[in-house]
Symmetry: D2
Subunit: 328 residues, 4 copies
């Protein structure tokens, strides 16, 4: 039985707490949150105790930690977890600074700690089916990857200002997805972007619509398109064109209902946002983490994966600012 402590009792912390509860190999022992009532409510729901950072890291009965707190606490918590011998699950990103990520991963390495970074989309059953088909050679060599990723609407400007920007906050998922699917790290990055959705996002120093192109040593190319707005719901599609064919993972719709009237043939919208669309992915992700913690599997997403995605986001930003393709 794996004993787990949770940092952060917010939206995503609750998702992972529920996954732990459903898993017969793990149990939630402690919840830590700067907002004590949130910690208490979640702890009570699952029969856990409210705790503190110090108590968790000094408690030898706790095997694993789930870091779902604010981004600026991630790297410190990872290091503390590594030093106290915990198996660590950390929501993306490790940090918004590539330097800080590197120093943090050095500590992880030094203590030979097990670290799993929460790129949840790798666990979506549709994308996984695409990855499996690709790996099985069903379309031969991959030549051209297209990732479309659009949020239903922009986050508050206050969030955007501390988010690290669209490339580090939103596209980082797609950059990881591109590397994971292609089984390669890009050798060049180009970027175009604008704030066509909301000028205030531009005034805040960020963009809301972006196209990033990746080149791989194999000659394969990839393009990621992002938008902070999709009036029809959360748009999450992947397409790989290859030697012998094409693979597409389409949106997951709210239901299979189709209505035909004089206005046309109407299918349902994509599921609203990440909590709905990736509900199953979050559960699979945590199962994978619990297997890692119980020594039954390797980390499916490593700290280095988190570092690579951030490095690509930084390169995209440099490409955007300079108008020059960035060679890596």
């Amino acid at each position: 039985m794996l004993n787990v402590a949770l940092f952060g009792a917010g939206r995503i912390g609750k998702v992972h707490a529920a996954s732990v509860a459903k898993n017969s190999d793990a149990q939630l022992l402690a919840v830590v949150d700067v907002h004590e009532p949130s910690a208490r409510a979640l702890a009570e729901q699952y029969g856990a105790r409210v705790s503190s950072q110090e108590a968790v890291f000094s408690d030898a009965s706790i095997d694993a930690i789930l870091i779902c707190s604010a981004t600026n606490t991630h790297a410190d918590l990872i290091e503390a977890g590594a030093r106290s011998g915990k198996v660590i699950f950390c929501e993306k990103p490790i940090d918004l600074s590539l330097e800080r990520v590197k120093s943090c991963l050095a500590v992880v390495k030094e203590h030979k700690a097990k670290l799993f970074v929460g790129f949840n989309r790798r666990f979506d059953k549709n994308f996984r089916a695409l990855k499996n088909a690709l790996t099985n050679g069903e379309i031969g060599k991959a030549e051209l990857l297209q990732i479309s990723s659009r949020d239903p609407g922009p986050p508050p400007l206050d969030y955007i200002k501390v988010s690290g920007g669209l490339f580090r906050d939103m596209m980082i998922h797609d950059l990881d997805m591109a590397c994971w699917l292609m089984g390669e790290t890009p050798v060049a990055v180009s970027a175009s972007a604008s704030s066509v959705v909301d000028k205030k996002i531009g005034e805040a120093g960020d963009v809301d619509t972006a196209i990033v192109t990746l080149e791989f040593a194999s000659g394969a190319l990839a393009v990621i398109t992002n938008s902070r707005r999709a009036s029809y719901g959360y748009d999450q599609r992947i397409e790989v064109h290859g030697e012998k064919g094409m693979l597409q993972a389409e949106n997951v719709l709210e239901s299979t209902l189709i209505k035909s009237t004089g206005d046309g043939v109407v299918s349902q919208k994509p599921m609203y946002f990440f909590l709905e669309r990736y509900e199953g992915a979050y559960a699979s992700e945590l199962e994978s983490f619990i297997q890692l913690a119980n020594g039954k599997a390797e980390a499916e997403v490593s700290g280095e994966d988190g570092e690579r995605a951030l490095a690509l986001a930084d390169a995209a930003l440099r490409a955007l600012e300079s108008g020059q393709k960035q060679r890596l």
Copy 2:
């Protein structure tokens, strides 16, 4: 907190036990099964005790029973439950004999017992979306209903011999669905059927492929097609044609992956069978039952619904045997 006892620790009993465990308003107290090791395994998994019929019905602390045992035990358990004041969930059918169903429901009525019959498909989110659109008048008056229902493969001949036949065992779901969707009870039934899938099914006195047509007093018509075989998986589709348009609930596919090659554009198969396709429906169904048991809602499926579906199956059988449309 609702205290629940479960009769039958088989495939479907396990599904409902898991739903009870996930519901914070209910808990599983007792499991009864003629095969004691099955009862024990399931009881241990959820911290319940192994029990007996007598003990359950004489235990005042048990509020509700889930009847998931063999069909020929259903009516007796319902009656015992009604007499001892339990709220009753019973998997379909109540019984294969319409006379027995009537006598059983008389006991239920006499004791003013709450009875919920497990027509799980009404709780499928896709069919429910269709029902809601229909009720909301999105296509006006319903005129023509088509239900396609095909199992991935025939059950063993031994099962077929005791199943009551395709109409009572398989189509009974579709007959209930037709009445529920149309909000009417048919006034006439016709039937055509054959054993084109497997002659041995015909030799056993049953059919494996069937078309049943229903007529409603409103002038609306319905047709149900059933097959014991669908090589591409569990085929469960509904289409309603109405005054202002058409509603279709399509199959739920294994994933959204599409592969395009020289052979065509290949989507995934429908989910394999009822446990996969109706996983969410089973959970919603039990939530609805727990709400009934906790006095928060009426029975969404009543004993009379169970009786009506069986009466229609019997009428379809008479129509098949006589070649004469049966007026009800």
Copy 3:
């Protein structure tokens, strides 16, 4: 070069005249219509002459006739064509009376005339692809056929009164399609119908919504659903369920445009009505007829096919009136 005379310069006559013009193996010589200006306009467009029945049948330079005039003229024109040695294309039906069809076909047989009946849907590329896949054994033995056929709206009541009724006027296409696809003639017919679309249709002695079930000697079953109304356009779909899978020919949409907004994911409607949907089929049909007339091919649709479809429509009507399955 095949010399062709056309009877009937209406909507469908124009379609066939255009097909003749495009075909380098045939030319339109004469047009006959009781409404002389219509005949004149069409004749002028294609460089043909206005003519009369007598002139056509006594003109040895005319090889073939296309009968697109009113239904009650078909049988007489066929007989006159047969007697004067013309190759004959006749729009469905040969006649609304089965007796008259039989006497007409006796004349055709006596003169060994070549007769091609215009069941245009057999030439639709989508249905033909389905037929080919079925014939190639791609789903093994056919077990269950579903034909959905719905017009965008009911014809005028005046037409309905002389149409022969829904079974002989509209479903006759689907009855022919069922026989052609299955490669068998049904052994039993059942029917349910109502006038749920428009009571006046019922008062005129006809129905507007119908379900007809066919049984074949092989054990295969078929169901045809018809409606005189489809608010979303002309609904023409076929589905065959077989031993190893299912074949579906879906509607042809106005374009491939899909619009996703907050209201859903909207595809285009099916093409409006038969002239749009079957434009290609009409052209292919006439190519096939010209090949017949030029001795390069057999009649793809024979007079006997026309007779069979009408006999099935009559049987469906008897089944509807009696409530008794009609064995053939």
Copy 4:
């Protein structure tokens, strides 16, 4: 009646000759081809005469010319046509050299000649439906355009060597499409490309797989992906993401047949190549040209449109070579 002369009796010349024949407002008078037997065969089919450049340009009875000959003859023929007062249809490109295009268009302008450039895809009914929906404001302001354009297989190396390269030969269609749909000319162009399909294409100095990103002054972005290979057929899709939704024009499939078996749910492939996919577009394009020539409409595609697309292709090539975004 418009009298038309055709230069070039090859594949595309035949397509346009057939369109002229079908149009009641135009007739083909003369055919010119360096390969005299080709000219003769086509002329005979449509009752035209074989002619020469000199004869066509000095023949006052010829109103319009269709230039379907080799690319290196286009600009000279356009100039000759302009000088002799013909209305001119020219297959793309006007020339592979931007300088030559400019000097040619200067001659056109000087003689106030009417010139129509054959960007046939603008006339595809699916893309036109998308353009109309966009123009009607159905998704508000356009923000993100994606054009996927892939040929079924690479052309012969000999062709590639004289083609001007993928950007000028193949992507030029997509560059025109992007400008036409967005109603803007890009202000910046980036490019990534490789020869991952066939190294020999790279050795010949060209690429076979490419991603080009366009930026517009409005803040909108566009990405074009091209591949010389699509094992599943001709892949021609467009997607526009906007303020209020998304528009997608999907591939046109060979038929609507869907086959479901144990291997999945198989739809048909996209139509094989441009002659099949754009058959209707070619016909509409020539109708539009004939309307221009008859003074009933303006040129839907102008010489300047041809120049702009080539300038963008050249800019994409410079971006690829330099790794630097090209500002225009």
